[in-house]
């Protein structure tokens, strides 16, 4: 039994080390909300995207499959024809086909539904 508790203590120690690695990270700052969540202002933005493309700054896309998730959600928005992502900088480039008007709020909600955080529109 003593060995069990020693092993559990070891595991909890490892957890503590892992936990410390996550605190105070701060991360790269690109402005916007202080907490890493999509703001309501962006989610409810009714501004129609002008032209045939727009660029968003998205946080939390840590891997190629994460970008694919964003792609899946954005392509569900009627009027979106192409999505590409630059994971290193966090930019998501959206191309529109003009079949329907697309608002910034629609795009922001799509990114939010994919599990990531939109910080701003770049144009």
């Amino acid at each position: 039994m003593r060995t069990t508790w020693m092993a559990m203590a070891l595991m909890m120690g490892l957890l503590a080390v892992g936990g410390c690695a996550t605190t105070g990270s701060g991360g790269d700052s690109h402005g916007g909300a202080s907490k890493g969540e999509t703001s309501n202002a962006l989610l409810n933005d009714t501004t129609v995207v002008k032209g045939t493309s727009t660029t968003m700054l998205v946080h939390g896309m840590s891997c190629p499959l994460c970008a694919k998730n964003v792609d899946i959600e954005l392509r569900r928005v009627k009027g979106v024809s192409l999505v590409t992502a630059d994971l290193g900088e966090g930019f998501v480039y959206v191309t529109l086909d003009g079949s329907a008007p697309v608002t910034r709020g629609q795009l922001a909600r799509a990114v939010n539904d994919s599990g990531f955080t939109i910080k701003s529109f770049q144009n």
Partner: protein, 286 residues
């Protein structure tokens, strides 16, 4: 080589091939063995097969002398909302048990094992940079008996836990604490938490992106080195800590991973020791 040995070797090779084709546990930057705080996009159904090959030692009570198991778990996960998902995991299992019916005879069992139904709620998310994130989810549900005579624990076992996943530049990790309350009254089980004791899981995984050093528009995928320490502590004082090194490649629509679990601390008196566990993964995202 005699015919019996040849058949055994061929079954082993076939099992490994099946693992190679179907084993899938990688999701995004998830570790292979630890439950992660990740889920599918909202209103999206994801099918994810996962496979494990496990070699067990002998039963402590002498019920058998050795067992092998290949289990392919079919996980169906659906996200109701961005932060809430449900999953059902149905394992199809092939198990060989040596010495159960006396002598050197090997018994074979195949069928559906216990089904796991879980709800996962992400209660914390902090995306602090283009790549950096910290997420935490609670999960709860139960392991439901399939009714199979040999492959089921024959009890409804509630499960609850917390999983936290973090990514910071090239590093990432997951730490998970889970508890499985066992309502079974059997003195001995095969898997951890199958006997009447409850099981407490502590998993800690660290991942490092080997390449690319920095993602660009031209990046086609990423290689990750994974190291996990997986601990299982049961209320009957059985405990086991496994070291699990692994490697994962993740492309834009698919991922491949390989991992092996080796015991570094093992004190089990109510179930057989797990000699090693192998997992190979390949997953496609449509």
């Amino acid at each position: 080589m005699d015919e019996g040995k040849l058949r055994t070797e061929m079954r082993g090779a076939a099992a490994m091939l099946v693992v190679g084709v179907f084993a899938l546990n990688a999701h995004a930057q998830e570790a292979m063995w630890a439950e992660a705080a990740t889920q599918p996009p909202s209103q999206t159904l994801r099918y994810r097969p996962m496979a494990h090959y496990v070699r067990y030692g002998g039963s402590p009570s002498g019920k058998f002398t050795r067992a092998e198991e290949l289990s392919i778990e079919h996980e169906f996960a659906f996200a109701l909302k961005p932060d809430v998902s449900l999953s059902v995991t149905v394992p199809t299992t092939y198990r060989t048990t040596k010495g159960r019916t006396g002598g050197d005879a090997t018994d074979e069992d195949s069928g559906i094992g216990d089904i796991t139904a879980l709800a996962k709620i992400r209660w914390y998310k902090d995306d602090t940079g283009p790549i950096d994130t910290v997420r935490s989810s609670i999960f709860f549900g139960a392991e439901i008996p399939s009714g199979h005579e040999q492959l089921s624990s024959k009890s409804v076992d509630p499960i609850v836990g917390v999983a936290t996943t973090w990514i910071r530049k090239r590093w990432g990790g997951t730490f998970t604490v889970g508890y499985k309350m066992n309502t079974n009254q059997e003195e001995e089980g095969l898997e951890p938490g199958d006997a009447k004791a409850d099981a407490f899981n502590i998993d800690n995984a660290v991942m490092y992106r080997l390449a690319p050093e920095k993602f660009t528009m031209e990046s086609k995928g990423a290689w990750y080195l994974i190291g996990e320490v997986n601990g299982i502590f049961e209320t009957n004082a059985d405990h086991e800590v496994m070291l699990s090194p692994g490697l994962m490649y993740e492309g834009w629509t698919w991922a491949f991973e390989a991992s092996i679990q080796l015991p570094i601390l093992q004190q089990v008196d109510h179930r057989p020791e797990r000699r090693f566990v192998v997992g190979l993964g390949l997953r496609f995202l449509f």
